[in-house]
Symmetry: C2
Subunit: 419 residues, 2 copies
């Protein structure tokens, strides 16, 4: 096998960029042998050229994007993140005839199709394996491995921060704030964790996966997401008693000619395949008409796992392989999803005897109650609460009932569907 | 995107071949849209052209291989199985300038490199995603998705029949023969189940995966394998009491400049990622230096799942993508693996009081015993037995001890390592 050379221009040298430089240096001989490609990073855009970057050749650094784009590279790796100037960098690279690899999930969720169209028009390739679930080859599997399947649903644990926090709460019995502080201390959560714990990150990833799986643009700008901030130790404990685990789950499900999208914490039966996914791991459960259910599980973030995904795109492009960049023409409507399932409900109340009214309101709406308990706050500053577990009912119906009980509650009720 | 045509010659129309015909008919519009390829099956080799094949155009059938190979097709799908004439068909197809897709694991395990070399020489592609773990895109993931990783180990549940039998034994408390009969009744086991239950099928798959992951030919003709025929209900029950599940596990582990290969039933901790893999499912746990541990799980066999894998190779080839066919030059020695771990041992004995001698022999060899029990047969025809659970020790050492106790035992002892 002859060896080709591929010159890479790198935009951004943070966690993933640094990992890429490390991985290319470490495993370049292996890649040359496996794929017949000699990878070389020719220029690296950074904000601060003085910063210490072990293993990175200082001579490659520049603060001027044009020095990267016009340096005769074959492929540009965009790792600066955010919408602008990342979008501009990608478009200019494509117009200059360069292939592009990006990990930019926010940009792809917002405007991936425009970029895919631009790549198609320029007959260049746009790789984005690293944008969803880090090292897990889920983009490649949806594009290639499952190409002969009509995808029926995708169910995933797409945010490692949420999963780490819920795992700590479940296994160590700590509350959400303590678990979040722990996640931050270990580098699994940002200083501003809202993108993760409020569910927006998972929603962006779900949109990318669903559009790819369904080969259609989804007619929604942003998916509504529920996060995990309101989950408390009582929720975790009660779920456990009922035989469930609380997980932050993103779901895309084909329903006729539309797709239903959901991102929220929910109860999973203890023996559900996703219930065993612990700590900062990600997992995606895909259901296709030929393959049935298939599970992919692994590290969803981190320097080397994400760099591994970027590298797989680079090698695919270098070998002229690894998936078309064609952007589908069709568009699918997104339905307001109404699930028919059991629900766990916790209502903060001034008076725990409200349990009678709450269960009556549910029963009057045709929603059975299989378990209800009233809890008096153990501390003076604590919150009294009522917990209810229902028979299968529509989420809208359960929500409506809780609105009817609004004058009894002292805060937002937690309503979790159970799979 | 323009649409290309790809003419497919199909050799064999059994379970997988029939599934392929069905899938191409069902999802061809989807594939055209996603990949810009129009697939057409031009000729099908069958043994019996009169047999009823719903959905298969009788005009395409032939009993003459040459009519398939010389019919102007671009790609040949080999699904006749076995060594010959399958090998001859593949070689002739490659020499005739056709790409080849095969699901033939026996042939690939025996002589995959010769075929890969032939493909490389002819500048044609050889796809074999369907040869291991059916629908799970594990070949593609090892070749492409994890291309930047040095693979450290592969641990898998590679045989669906064994996993189905062990699952039934564990969940329903039935014995191995009843579970096997159940598997046969459901079509998860062949009339002659020896290839599956004696571990040879898993060993073939492990060889293919390990050679691919390590980019090296393994200097072993066949991997020694242990099957599951000797596992009984007591083993399952005792494992459960100890917090383990018995699974049939295939492992390839890099040890210095060699690789250790093992195929055998073993005890997995209940919370091990592979312990949750139930029924006829397959799973592969890959550890790479960049990605850490990654799990792939799904249907390892069956008409449509395997056909989905064949189809993914076909589309990759049609799109000029999906992995090099280069055959690595290097060869890796296979070590006789000696694990240092806890062991479960069951010895059939004439006199259960042999427990004293057996534990003494172990203790004298430096192997601690953390649990031992002697069981009197409940029925006259039954077998007395001694069960022992050890402290971490080498498998060779445990085996040697059991040989020293050979005169006490009335049959082959069961020795299972615990992960």
């Amino acid at each position: 096998m002859s060896t080709r050379k591929l010159k890479i221009g790198l935009l951004g040298c943070g966690t993933v960029g640094g990992g890429l430089v490390e991985l290319v240096a470490k495993n370049s001989a292996l890649i040359r042998e496996r794929a017949g490609v000699e990878l070389g990073i020719t220029k690296i855009l950074v904000r601060d050229p003085v910063k210490e970057r072990p293993g990175v050749d200082r001579a490659l650094l520049t603060t001027e994007p044009d020095k990267v784009l016009n340096n005769g590279c074959d492929l540009v790796v965009e790792l600066v993140g955010g919408i602008e100037p990342a979008r501009d960098f990608i478009q200019r690279s494509l117009f200059a005839g360069k292939h592009v690899v990006t990990a930019n999930k926010a940009l792809l969720a917002l405007d991936g199709f425009t970029l895919l169209h631009a790549a198609e028009k320029q007959k260049r390739r746009l790789g984005f394996e690293a944008s969803v679930c880090g090292a897990i080859p889920i983009i490649r599997s949806l594009r290639n491995g499952l190409v002969g399947n009509r995808i029926q649903s995708i169910t995933g644990i797409l945010n490692g921060t949420c999963n780490y926090i819920l795992t700590r709460m479940t296994e160590d019995g700590i509350d959400v704030d303590t678990a979040l502080a722990d996640a931050q201390a270990r580098g699994f959560a940002e200083a501003d964790p809202s993108l993760d714990v409020d569910g927006h990150d998972a929603a962006q990833k779900l949109k990318i996966l669903a559009e790819l799986a369904l080969s259609a643009r989804l007619s929604v700008d942003a998916i509504e997401a529920e996060g995990i901030r309101d989950i408390n130790a009582d929720d975790i404990r009660t779920a456990k008693q009922l035989g469930y685990v609380i997980k932050h789950v993103a779901t895309a499900e084909v329903k006729g000619d539309a797709v239903s999208l959901q991102v929220r914490p929910m109860l999973l039966p203890r023996d559900h395949q996703l219930a065993a996914v612990r700590d900062e791991n990600n997992a995606v459960l895909v259901r296709g008409d030929a393959v049935g259910e298939m599970l992919f599980c692994g590290k969803g973030a981190g320097s080397l796992p994400s760099a591994s995904a970027v590298l797989s795109d680079i090698v695919d492009i270098a070998c002229h392989r690894g998936g078309f960049s064609a952007a589908p023409q069709q568009s699918l409507p997104v339905t307001s999803s109404d699930q028919q399932c059991k629900h766990y409900v916790r209502v903060p109340v001034a008076d725990p005897s409200a349990i009678g009214v709450i269960t009556s309101v549910l029963e009057r709406s045709g929603i059975g109650v299989t378990r209800a308990s009233a809890q008096w706050a153990r501390k003076a500053a604590g919150v009294h609460q009522v917990q209810v577990f229902t028979t299968p009912a529509s989420s809208q119906n359960v929500r409506r009932c809780m609105q009817d009980c609004a004058d009894l509650s002292t805060g937002k009720p937690v309503i979790l569907p159970a799979a």
